[in-house]
């Protein structure tokens, strides 16, 4: 039977996501949010999730629907402040002690995810050294400069938005859709990508931006 990672419905694929799972959501500033898949995960309803997403308070993506549905126990992000004086749904629950927050320098977050998918358990980075964010973490000096030890993040599910996908699960991105998506796909046991369109025909090799090896399912949702 030929390889074909294209699916027409996602609900069944999300049934194995258990309470307590770690879920990674790509997206930055309105680009690269798997909004269709996020709503499907909300409907699937696992609870006590750890949500890994660049922002806990995205206005332009639907990451907050999981928070509003009281499905999130912990958030790992680089940005946790909503715009304006009104508290975001995240800030309301964080303030009430319902959600634990781990805030990271954005590059540290990206690299921890990359490490998770690349077989690297930990690495040293200069970002955050000398700040409150690295309290309690190991500091080590290399070539006269201090670095902080950061550990890999692995996940159970990555929900990613791309542009085109073929039956092998190869994906392209348009504009700035990629952001955290490729790294998240490598770091999670199950990676699902929603795209504008899927095709049976293979995407030319040099145009592939996320190889199907890292992708389990692709779902066409339109909306370019």
């Amino acid at each position: 039977m030929a390889i074909d990672k294209r699916i027409t419905a996602v609900a069944e694929k999300l049934q194995g996501i258990k309470d307590g799972a770690t879920v990674m959501l790509s997206g930055f500033g309105g680009a690269g949010f798997a909004n269709t898949l996020i709503l499907a995960l909300r409907d699937a309803g696992p609870r006590d999730l750890t949500m890994v997403s660049n922002s806990a308070t995205h206005l332009l993506g639907r990451t907050q629907v999981l928070i509003e549905a009281n499905m999130v126990r912990k958030v790992i992000c680089s940005a946790a402040r909503g715009r304006g004086k009104e508290l975001s749904p995240f800030e309301e629950q964080w303030k009430a002690g319902k959600i634990e927050l781990e805030v990271l320098p954005q590059g540290t977050m990206a690299e921890r995810i990359r490490a998770g998918g690349a077989g690297i358990p930990a690495f040293y980075t200069p970002a955050g050294v000398g700040t409150d964010l690295v309290k309690g973490k190991e500091i080590r000096r290399f070539n006269g400069r201090d670095y902080v030890l950061e550990t890999a993040i692995e996940g159970d599910l990555a929900l990613i938005r791309g542009d085109l996908a073929d039956r092998f699960g190869n994906v392209t991105f348009r504009g700035t859709q990629a952001n955290f998506g490729p790294a998240m796909a490598t770091a999670c046991k199950l990676a699902i990508v929603e795209v504008f369109a899927t095709q049976a025909e293979a995407i030319p090799p040099e145009r592939v931006m996320l190889p199907g090896v890292f992708v389990d399912h692709v779902l066409a949702v339109g909306g370019r």
């Binding site: 309105g30 303030k95 805030v103 954005q106 590059g107 200069p126 970002a127 990629a178 490729p182």
Partner: protein, 227 residues
């Protein structure tokens, strides 16, 4: 005295960007710098969500929600630009490939300590973004900031009172009153807006100022700031 407005501060900082520099602009006042680069000078603006050579904002009819900068603004990409993912973008930042990062700040200390991520607003969450990576690893960290708080309290201090973004990293500061550098001896003033005396500036600053022998006037074009 005539304080600079936010766009005039951005204009002044932009004059110091040199041909061929790779520059990352932070949210707020710094992003306005790209509008004021002197005609004909090619600067490569990197945006940490993965844009290399960010161009002007997209015209309304050409705006594409899939193409945004780190401030979530719908932009264009300049000729010669490219797009990479977040891990490659931060490899570029952490690896020392950014010549200048221009950041906003709540406070800067006389040794170059930068505080710009947590203003301790009750109940509001922290916003780190890429600032710690940039401040730790760009070749030069420049800051654009108002010289004092709205209540007139100094933001340039002997020691920061707010949580640090990175220690001893800031090299230059562009405020609404002056252009300064951070040296081993402390803050050095290079330009002051007309009508502000050395004593006035010292009174608005929470650390001892050194005035450069060639300290001059900080003069910018009139730029209306609607914000």
């Amino acid at each position: 005295m005539a304080k600079l407005n936010r766009l005039q501060m951005a204009w002044r900082a932009a004059q110091d960007l040199q041909e061929g520099m790779v520059v990352n602009l932070g949210l707020g006042m710094p992003v306005a710098c790209s509008d004021y680069v002197p005609e004909g000078r090619e600067i490569i603006f990197q945006s940490e969500n993965g844009v290399i050579s960010a161009g002007p904002l997209a015209a309304p009819e050409a705006a594409d929600p899939d193409l945004v900068d780190a401030g979530s603004r719908q932009i264009t990409i300049a000729v010669g630009g490219s797009v990479i993912d977040s891990t490659a973008s931060f490899a570029m930042i952490r690896g020392g490939h950014i010549d200048v990062t221009l950041l906003g700040a709540f406070e800067v200390a006389a040794n170059g300590d930068l505080a710009n991520w947590d203003s301790r607003i009750p109940d509001k969450g922290p916003l780190v973004g890429g600032a710690m990576d940039l401040a730790a690893s760009a070749k030069a960290v420049w800051v654009i900031m108002e010289h004092t708080t709205r209540k007139g309290a100094p933001r340039l201090l002997d020691q920061c009172t707010l949580p640090l973004t990175a220690p001893a990293c800031v090299k230059r500061i562009y405020t609404d009153l002056a252009v300064l550098s951070v040296t081993p001896a402390g803050f050095v003033v290079h330009e002051i807006v007309p009508g502000v005396s050395a004593a006035d500036l010292q009174a608005a600053t929470g650390a001892k100022l050194i005035f450069a022998p060639d300290c001059g006037l900080l003069v910018t074009p009139d730029i209306a700031d609607a914000s």
